[in-house]
């Protein structure tokens, strides 16, 4: 079965970011959003695992540690389906730019490390829409670990893949789990022609590359301005940001 390889024909654009924890993708997408809004585009932002429908269930399942690799994967797919239906497709139909922090590729990487079959999880998400541009922030494991381990005092149980029993030490477990996820991402960069960004560059350097790529992807896109977007543009002009 084809894995969302068909271009969507909605008037909007879908831009997504991927990468392991500590790759800096959320920082980059936030900066991209600022820029797009300052340019007068209508932007809609959505992030992984945020749908109200299964939020409580996922939280409870994680807390009680009763999730299996399959239920873990299916819950995230349910979340994705719900967001696709409510948060991604409507703004695309309305001609807006949808920015997604993590997409189906996150499932292809994480769930496979958890032990589900690679083809099974790809089939599971075959209803997804192919993004117009998919950024993959590639970072060496040591840099990612340093960023996460120095910035945050508490790593979450599942973020560290503690459910997989790699190590009893949460930091070790995190390192092993994220290395394995990184391997999966590297394989996918080719499989899905992700736009790879070297995430060891300075933040503003990366952002420049991202904006150039987005400019290219938006060629021929007629932007829909909303009242909100117009206001945002005026706001940015006032501070003479180009």
């Amino acid at each position: 079965m084809p894995i969302f390889d068909k271009k969507h024909d909605y008037p909007g654009k879908l831009i997504i970011v991927e990468g392991i924890d500590g790759s800096g993708k959320s920082t980059q997408i936030a900066l991209l959003r600022k820029w797009l809004e300052s340019q007068g585009f209508s932007v809609f932002f959505t992030e992984w695992n945020s749908s109200e429908l299964v939020k409580e269930t996922t939280k409870e399942g994680k807390k009680k540690n009763i999730l299996t690799p399959t239920t873990f994967s299916l819950l995230h797919a349910t979340d994705f389906a719900d967001r696709l239906n409510y948060q991604i497709v409507p703004p695309l139909k309305a001609g807006m730019i949808v920015l997604a922090d993590r997409y189906a590729y996150t499932a292809f990487a994480r769930d496979v490390v958890r032990g589900v079959h690679p083809q099974w999880v790809r089939n599971l998400y075959s209803f997804a829409i192919k993004p117009d541009i998919s950024f993959y922030f590639d970072v060496p494991i040591n840099i990612a670990c340093d960023r996460i381990l120095s910035n945050r005092t508490q790593i979450k149980f599942h973020e560290a893949g503690m459910d997989l029993g790699f190590s009893a030490d949460i930091k070790d477990s995190f390192r092993i789990f994220q290395s394995k996820i990184l391997e999966e991402y590297k394989k996918m960069a080719d499989e899905f022609s992700l736009t790879t960004i070297d995430a060891t560059f300075e933040i503003h350097e990366q952002q420049e590359i991202v904006r150039d790529a987005v400019k290219e992807a938006l060629k021929g896109y007629s932007k829909k301005r909303t009242i909100y977007a117009k206001r945002a543009k005026v706001f940015w002009r006032r501070f003479s940001v180009s």
Partner: protein
Amino acid sequence: MPNEPKYFGEGLAYLKPFSVKGKLIVIEGTDGAGRSTQIALLKNWLEVRGYAVVETGWARSTLMHKSIELAKSGNIMDRMTFSLLYATDFADRLENQIIPALKSGHIVVADRYVYTAFVRDVVRKEDPQWIRNVFGFALVPDLVLYLKIDMDTLIPRAIESGGINYWEAGMDIHMGQDLFDSFVNYQSRLISEYDTLAKEFNFEVIDGTKMVDEIQEKIREKVKEIVGKPKAAVKLKEMSETKEEPKK
């Protein structure tokens, strides 16, 4: 005679290898087909014969029960979300209830199984392959008993048992002018999809319009073929045949 687990597709590769000692029996059928009545009778009969029975039912997992109720009460589900919620429920019951029971030699009686998801999904969209791939982790049952009824039987039974609800009527896909019309169209489609699956997956088709006792008789015949007699009962019989008094 423990068996290797048999899956519909990729299975659950991350599980430690295990063998199946029990049997998995599935009762399928539309709303009002009499599944729960028949399951209660079957369970009782098996227990009298010395088999330990575990019953599992569609959408009854501890994990997903709440999410499914929430989604159903708001009528907010699209087709994918609908199917995936039930798949998650099923996976939870499979790994935490069905497989452990089968490993320890129980007979598992499932009220609805993956086929319910197959028919409901296929009625909601054209591609039948996606949902089958999703359930590639499911165990193939030892026996599928399909209680088949026609619309003339289904309609009064469904109405008598508390009326028609939004989901039983397939109102999410607007199959008719009003609740009743939609219900009739939706349930007819389900029956015809069940008929297709019956051939593809070798269901034992049982006429669900017959009397309760007659249906149960048929079910027991089929179940006997796969469960045989418990070892203890065979032993007891041998003992009595050799005129030995069973010792305490």
